[in-house]
Structures are given as C-alpha cells and as structure tokens.
Amino acid sequence: MDTLRSRYLKQKIAFAVVRVSATMVCLTLLLVVGFVFFHGWKAISWTFLTEMPLDSMTKGGIFPAIVGTFFLTFGAIAVALPIGVASAVYLNEYARGGRTVRIIRLGINNLAGVPSVVFGLFGLGFFVVFLKFGSSVLSGSLTLGFLILPVIIGTSEEALKSVPQTYREASLGLGATKWQTIYKVVLPAAFPGILTGSILGIGRAAGETAPIMFTAATFYTSRLPGSIFDEVMALPYHIYVLATAGTHIEKTRPLQYGTALVLICLVLGVSLTAILLRSRLRRRRN
C-alpha cells in the first residue's frame, strides 16, 4: 500500500506530464503560424495581393489564385448548403428514427470519412470526364461541395436541435402546417447556427488541395476565369506547385511563404470567426 505522500507525488508527476502535452499542442499551433508569419509578412504587399504572376511565377502577385480560391469556395457552399440544410431538416424535423434514418446517418458518416484524394479522383471520373465539365470551376466546386456536405449537415442539425421545442408547438398550435412551422419559425431561429456551419465549411473548402488538383486547379493562367467552365489557380495548389515543381524552388521561397501566409490568414480567420460565433450562440442559449 502506497503512502498518501507517494500517491500525491504520483499525481503531481502525472499532472506535469499532462500539462506538458497540452502545452506541446498549443506550441505546435503557435510555431506553425508564427513561422509562416515571420517569413511571410515580408512578401506581403499590395502588389502581391492584387497583381498577376510574372516571369514564370518568380515575381509578381497571386491575385488569380486568391480569386480562384474565392470562386471554388463559394461554389462549394452553393452546392452543399441547400442539400445539407435540407438533409438536416429531414433528419431533425421529419424523420422518426428507424431504418431509413440509420442508413442515411451511416452514409453521412462514411462520406465524412472518404479521403480527400479519393474525392479528387471521383471528381475527375464523374464531373470532368463523364459529365464532360472538363477541369473547371464547376467541377472543382461540385467536388468540394460533396466534401463539405457532412460538415454542413452536422452543424445544421446541431442548430436545429437547439431551437426550443416550444417554438414549434406554439406555431403548430396557431394552426400553421409543419412546413410553415419549419420555414417561418424553425429555420429563422436556427439561422445563426447554420451560418456558423457554412463558415466552417468555407474554411475547410478553402484549404483543401487534393480534391482540386485534377478537377479545377491549374499551374498558371494569365487571365482570370471568365466562366464556370474555365480552369483557375488556387492558393493551396499554388503553394504546392511553387514548393515542389519547377526550377526556381529556392528563388520563389518568399512567394511561397507569402502565399502560405495568405492562405493561413484566410482559413484560420474564417475558422476563428465560426468558433467565436458558435461559442457566443451557446452562451446565449444557456
């Protein structure tokens, strides 16, 4: 039997180890972000953000990549948001459990687990080749839309669940039909939560590289996309290409850091917004 003192000593050691782990996780984030900031801020300038790449991408800006990421991301949201919210409405408002719901949930869970590169190949096989959309904003947006669908469904469901049951009962009690209740009472009340979900989805879609490699992204274009059937440059793919391909890898380092910084600011900014929004929502509910 251990003495009380040795048991407390054990606790002290264990807590120290646990604290060190948590600190390491925080440090990892700080180091990654700090490092990119430290090396990237020198590259950032107004011209870097608003000009075309020059001299086989060793100079100039990343404007087309920013625009491309913007297009792809909003395309993805435009695909995933209506389907995702409608799925969540069915699961939370209409479904009463049973086999159909189990199968649907299994589908959503597994869709969430499909590797991003597999989404990329699927997009290549289905949108690019089979539907003949070619490598384009449309194909890329659809592929990314499929990818973020589970995120949107999950957060929308959480938002719908948080709408108090009494709202629905009051609306039904006034003689509204179920659809009227959903459309005029439940969805408006769940709107902030659904918005949070979309923002999370945007963050996810903006950072993905593998799904757009074969469906939308191109190494270099001298012009901005004119239609949804054009190829685009995108920030994540731009980093990948600059860092791994070509003969100027060392020469373009500052551009790589700069692009990484822009991408990190975009993704972390968007995610942080969603996190803060959500914690405010939760606090208000409690």
Binding site: V32, V36, E93, L106, G113, P115, G175, A210, I264, S271
Partner: protein
Amino acid sequence: MYQGERAIRHPGFTGSFGCDSFHGAEHTMKKTMIQVPSFESANLVDRAANADAPALGDAWTGRGGYRRRTRESAIRLIFLLTALFSITALGLILFFLFREGVPVFKIVSLQDFLLGREWYPTDDPPALGIFPLIIGSIAVITVSCIGAVPLAVLTAIFIAEIAGPRMKEILKPVVELLASLPSVVIGFIGMVVVAPFLQRTFDIPTGLNLLNASLMLGIMTVPTICSISEDAMYAVPRELREASLALGATQWETIFRVVLPASLSGIATAVILGISRAIGETMVVLMVAGGAAIVPTSLLDPVRPMPASIAAEMGEAPFQSEHYHALFAIAIVLFLITFAFNLIADQISHKYKQVGSATL
C-alpha cells in the same frame, strides 16, 4: 396515432421528450382541427374580427385543405429525397471508382496488385504491385500514432478533467484551429523546416522521409483524436468521479482508474477515426515522405504512401491507360480501408455507449 391519443387524454402534457412530444403535438392538433366543423364553429371563425385570417375549417377539410395536405406530403418527400443524397453521393463515388479502377485487373491479378513488390507503372510492360505503397502507408501511420495518440489523449485529459473553465476556453479553440490548418501548409513546413533539420541532425542526403512524414501527419491527427476523446471523457457521469473521490482516491487515480476506463470506447473510436483520416491524408505525405516506392527498412528511408502515389502520378498518367486505371484501383483500396475503419468506429461507439452511471 398512439402518441396523439395519449397527448389528448393528458391535455396538460407538454413533456420534453424531444421528438416524441413534437409529433404528439402535431397529431393532437390535426384531430382537434378536424373536429372543428362538427361544432359548426367554422362560421364563428368566419365572423371573427380579423377577416384576413383563413377559415380554420376550410383549411383542413375543404378543397383547400386537401391541397394543403398534399403539399405538406410533397414537401416531406422532397426533404427525404434530399436527405438520401448523401447515400447517393457515396454510391456515385463507389461506382466511378470501380468503373475507372476495375479495368486494371484485366492485366494484373488482384493478388499481384496487392502483394506485388514492384511499382514501375510507366515501364513497358508496367509493374503494378502496390505492396510497397501499402507498407509505406502503414509505416507512416504506425510511427505517427506512437507520438500522436498519447499526446492527444493526454491533452484531452487536461482539457476535460484538469483545466479550469478559462483555460478550457483557450485550449478548445486551439485544438480546433490546429485541425483547420490546411494540410498543404503542414506539408510546406515539413519541407522547409523539418527536412533541413533532420538532414543536419542525422547527416543524411535528404530530410524527406518516413520520420518527417510521420511527424507532420501527427500534427494532422492530434486534433481529431483529442477532440473526440475529450467528448468521450466529458460524457462520463459525474457520479462516477464523485464516488471515486469519496472513496479516498486522488484526482489522478480517479482519472486513471475511473474516467479513462469508462471512456475507453470513446477513446478507441477517436483513435480509429484519427487513423482513418491519416490514411487518406494526401498533401503531407505527397510533399515530405520522399516518394520512393520501396519497403522501408529504417525510419530515415523515403517512402511513398498510397495517397501520395495517386496525387503525384495522376497528372502524368495518360487518360484511360493501365497506369490511370491502377491509380483508381489504389483509390478503391483507400476507400475500402477508410470505410472499414469508419464502420468499426461506428460499431464501437454504438455498442459500448456509456448509458447511465451504473455500467462501469
């Protein structure tokens, strides 16, 4: 109908049974509505001060009511069909992977494909054995788990059991932000920071190898494992902790002997989901694993995990060539592995769900 009747017999019943009470309320309403005309109260409603309001009786029983009910069931059907979209998407993904991947088995048997030691897809004839790629994936994930699993679980313990509320408010977003870091940025850091460091430290020709990829992959999996494990610990009932503390156990003994065992299924689910994500993680292994399709013999050997192979070669593989089909076949293998892992995780979390406080 049963729920509706029960709700009618107990008019004051407004229990918070989640969905049940909701549907109960709906049935109740329909019944009372339908009864309205028999009391001839439709006239009363018509004469009501607000002339704009639709007549209640008419809304449900008249021709308008029929239309209204048809519309309601049509809307319900539309929502059901949309909800089935996820299944459809999964089916489409499977169908197109098989459509483009299966033709490779005309020239190589399944066994040779999975166990063949040589991956020279551009040779003539091509050698299409993905064994080194599978081993590459397994090696990278095993090594990364050795570091990432304890780190993630310990961090989860800190967040769930030890940290104060303010600390929690900082740590949880940190973990979430770590999860949202784009993989291409992690890969980039691996290339420009970790690789030169490893190269200098171990005096090797290149820092892009198994160890580097494992470290970077660890950064990607820690947040997944951490946040799911933390949820699992959070779900352990307070009574269990109180009972343990009341018996004289220290806080650490309570965590280690009560909370951890009680949330073990959740932690197992977390680890499996983390591994499942790591298997499919592409950009990190594409950029820092080194890219040699060999079976590694040391931590400092370059490897070529499955997703890296797909991403690196798809751009160069001629359309509908054997190489192209082979890459789709690798994607099938990846898909099936992650599918299996997700099913296992699903099973574990359903089967060993912590219900109530008496099932330790």
